[in-house]
Symmetry: C2
Subunit: 348 residues, 2 copies
DNA sequence: TAACTTTCTTTACGCGCGTAAATTATTTGT
DNA sequence: ACAAATAATTTACGCGCGTAAAGAAAGTTA
C-alpha cells in the first residue's frame, strides 16, 4: 500500500486493482462504490472520489457485465436506423435509459432479417437487464424472436409480433387511421387509401383494415390502391407508384390517405413532377395525407397533413414498462397502444 | 467426456467449455476454431461444425475481447444519428466492417459534447481494434479526443479536428462549394451564400471561404447571409432564417447557395410559405441550391439541386484505411478529401 | 469504556474466454 | 513402417471485474 500511494499521480490506471491501491481502499469496496456510491460510508466515498479526480479511472463496463446477476445494460433494437422515425424514437429511448441509470446500446437490423438475428445474438453476449425491441415485423424470424424473448426480458415496441416478450407498446394504428379518415371525410371528398402491396410492417395491415372499417361506418365507398415495391425505400416506391396511379387514374376521389408518411412524401414528389397541385385550396386538384408524423413531414411542399405518433408517450411507456419489469414488477402480457394527434398542415 | 457426450442434444450450451466437451474437442482447440476455422484440421473442423448444428452455441463476443491482443471489434461514432446523412454513412461503414470480418458497434454523440465523451469512454471498454470517428467538430472536447486517438487506433472522417488519429477522410468541401458556385454563376445570377452564424461543423467554414474565393475568382460580388440559431435543428433554423432574410430582402441576387442541404430544405419551406416560386423556370423568382446530397434532397419541392457526397467512396476509403492500419500498414497522417458530384435537379 | 452495529479488508472463487508451454496424438513423407 | 512434421490436448494462467464469507476495524449506543 505504501508504495502504491506514492505512485506518480499521472500514471495511467489500468484496472480497479490499481485504482483501489491508489485510493487506499480495497478493491471489493471500490467495486461496491461503483455499483452504488451511496452504499459506502461518506468518508470512504470521499477518499475514492478524491482519487477519481486525480486519475480519471473508469471501470470496464463489459467486464462488469460479465459476472453480475443483474446488469445495467439495456439493448435498443430498431429495424432501420436510416429511417428518421426510428432514429428519433431510438434517441428518445436512449435518453430515458440513461436518465433511469441504465446503459443503452443501440442496434439496427438494417431492414434485414438475417441481420436482426445477428443483432439478437450479439445482445445475448451483452447480458442486458432488458431489451427494447422494435422487430422488423413480417420479415422477422419468429422462432429466433420467441427464443430470444424467452431468454431475455424484452419489451416489444412499434410493431407487435404475436404475444412475445414482456408486453407491447406502440401506436394505436386503428385510431390513427380512423381519426384521419374521419377528418378527411368531414372536410372534403372521402379518401382513397394508398399503400404498398406487400408491406414489411404488420401495422400497415391494421391501417388498411381500419380504413376499410371507417369508410364502411361512414357509409362511403372505400378504395385501396396497392402499389408494387420491395424493400425499405418507401419514398421512391411511393413516387413511382404515385406516377402510375395518377397516370392510370386509379384514384376515384381527389383525396388520398397514404399508409405512411414516407409513401406520402414520394407521392407528393410524383404530384410535383406531374404538375398536380396538392392542398386544400380552391385551386388544388388533390389532397394528400400521411400517417406517422415523420420528422420530415413538416418540410414537404405543401407541408404534409398527417397523424403523428406520440413519440414521447410511446417511448416513455415502453421504457417505464421495461424498467418496472427489470425491477421485479411482474405483470401479465399486455398491449398498450398510444393514440396519435392529428397534425393539420396544408396538404389536406 | 463420456458423460458429456451423452448429454441431451437440446440442453442449452452455456459456454465454450460445455460446447467443447459436447463436440468432443478440447476448449483451446475450439477457441482456435472460432478465431479462424481454417486454422484447425478439416476433420476437427467437421466435428465442431457438426456439434454446432445441434447446439447453436456462439461464443460471447465481449468475453472474447477481454483478453485478446487484437480484437475484431470496430467502433463507429457519428455526431448525430437522427440526421439521415450520418445514418446513411454509418450504415455504409457498418456493412464494410462486416464484409471485412470485423464487428462494428455504432454510437451516436447525439449532438452533445458530453455524450461524445461518454461514448469514447465506453469505446475504451470495448477494446476495439480500431475506431471510425466523425467528431462533433467545434464542440468536441479536443483534449479528450486527443487522448483517445493516442490510445486507440482511430480514423477521423467527415469532419477533421486538428491532425488527430491515423488519418482523415472526408469530402472535399472546397471542391464542393467551388464546383456548385461555378455552376450557379454560369447558369444565372451569381449566388448569395446562406449559412448559420455559428455552425457546429468546421466544414461550414471551409465552405464559406471556398464560396468567397470562388466569387472573387469569377469577379462577382460575394454576399454571405448568416442567420441565428443554435443546435442541430437545421431545417427549422433555415426556415426561420429564410423567412427573415426574404422579409428583409437580404439576398442581393435571385440565387441562393445554402451551406448544407438541411438548411436548404428549411429555406425551401420558407419560400413555399411565402409563395415564392423556386426553380429555374421562367416563372420562378428564386433559385436555391444545397450541399451534401442529403437523402431527402430528392423529395423536396422542387427537388433540390445540390452537390452530393460520394458516400461509397468516403466510407470505402475510410474503412480501408482503418483496416490497413489495424493490419499493421503504418502510414504517416494524411488527409484525403473526396470530390462531390453535382446533382442537378429543379431548384437551381 | 464495554458491547454492539456497521463497514471495511482479506481471501477466494467465479464469469467466459484468450493464450502460452509442455506433452501427447495424428498425419505426412519416404 | 519409421522418423519427422503437424496438430491436438493438458495444464495453467490471465483479462477486469462481481460476489460471498470470515475476520478486523471503525463507528455507534448506552
Amino acid at each position: 500500500m505504501e508504495a502504491s500511494l506514492r505512485r506518480l499521480p499521472m500514471a495511467r490506471i489500468k484496472n480497479m486493482e490499481e485504482f483501489a491501491s491508489v485510493s487506499g481502499i480495497s478493491r471489493p469496496t471500490v467495486s461496491k462504490y461503483f455499483n452504488d456510491p451511496e452504499s459506502v460510508r461518506p468518508k470512504t466515498r470521499a477518499r475514492i472520489e478524491d482519487a477519481l479526480k486525480l486519475h480519471d479511472y473508469r471501470p470496464n463496463i463489459y467486464a462488469m457485465n460479465q459476472n453480475r446477476k443483474l446488469t445495467k445494460a439495456v439493448g435498443i433494437v430498431v429495424p432501420l436506423l436510416v429511417d428518421p422515425y426510428f432514429a428519433e424514437i431510438a434517441r428518445n429511448l436512449e435518453q430515458r435509459c440513461i436518465d433511469a441509470g441504465y446503459r443503452p446500446t443501440l442496434f439496427s437490423a438494417h431492414g434485414d432479417s438475417a441481420h436482426e438475428v445477428e443483432v439478437l445474438d450479439s445482445l445475448r453476449s451483452l447480458k442486458p437487464a432488458g431489451v427494447l425491441l422494435a422487430p422488423l415485423g413480417r420479415a422477422s424470424d419468429h422462432d429466433v424472436l420467441e427464443k430470444f424473448c424467452a431468454d431475455v426480458p424484452t419489451l416489444l415496441f412499434d410493431s407487435s409480433v404475436e404475444e412475445f416478450g414482456l408486453s407491447f407498446v406502440g401506436s394505436d394504428n386503428r385510431q390513427f387511421t380512423t381519426h384521419i379518415t374521419d377528418y378527411l371525410c368531414r372536410t372534403g371528398e372521402p379518401p382513397c387509401f394508398f399503400e404498398m402491396k406487400t408491406p414489411a410492417n404488420p401495422n400497415a395491415h391494421r391501417r388498411r383494415q381500419a380504413y376499410l372499417d371507417a369508410m364502411q361506418e361512414f357509409g362511403q365507398p372505400a378504395q385501396v390502391v396497392s402499389i408494387e415495391g420491395e424493400g425499405w425505400e418507401f419514398e421512391e416506391i411511393g413516387r413511382i407508384g404515385g406516377h402510375k396511379a395518377l397516370e392510370e387514374g386509379l384514384f376515384s376521389t381527389n383525396t388520398i390517405l397514404c399508409s405512411n408518411d414516407r409513401l406520402a412524401i414520394g407521392l407528393l414528389t410524383a404530384c410535383y413532377e406531374r404538375g398536380v397541385k396538392v392542398g386544400r385550396g380552391e385551386d388544388c386538384q388533390i389532397r394528400v395525407a400521411g400517417q406517422d408524423g415523420h420528422p420530415h413531414s413538416r418540410y414537404t411542399c405543401p407541408p404534409l397533413t398527417t397523424i403523428s405518433h406520440d413519440y414521447d408517450k410511446v417511448s416513455q411507456t415502453a421504457a417505464d414498462s421495461l424498467f418496472a419489469a427489470i425491477e421485479g414488477h411482474v405483470e401479465p402480457w399486455k398491449s398498450t397502444r398510444i393514440e396519435g394527434k392529428l397534425t393539420l398542415r396544408d396538404s389536406a
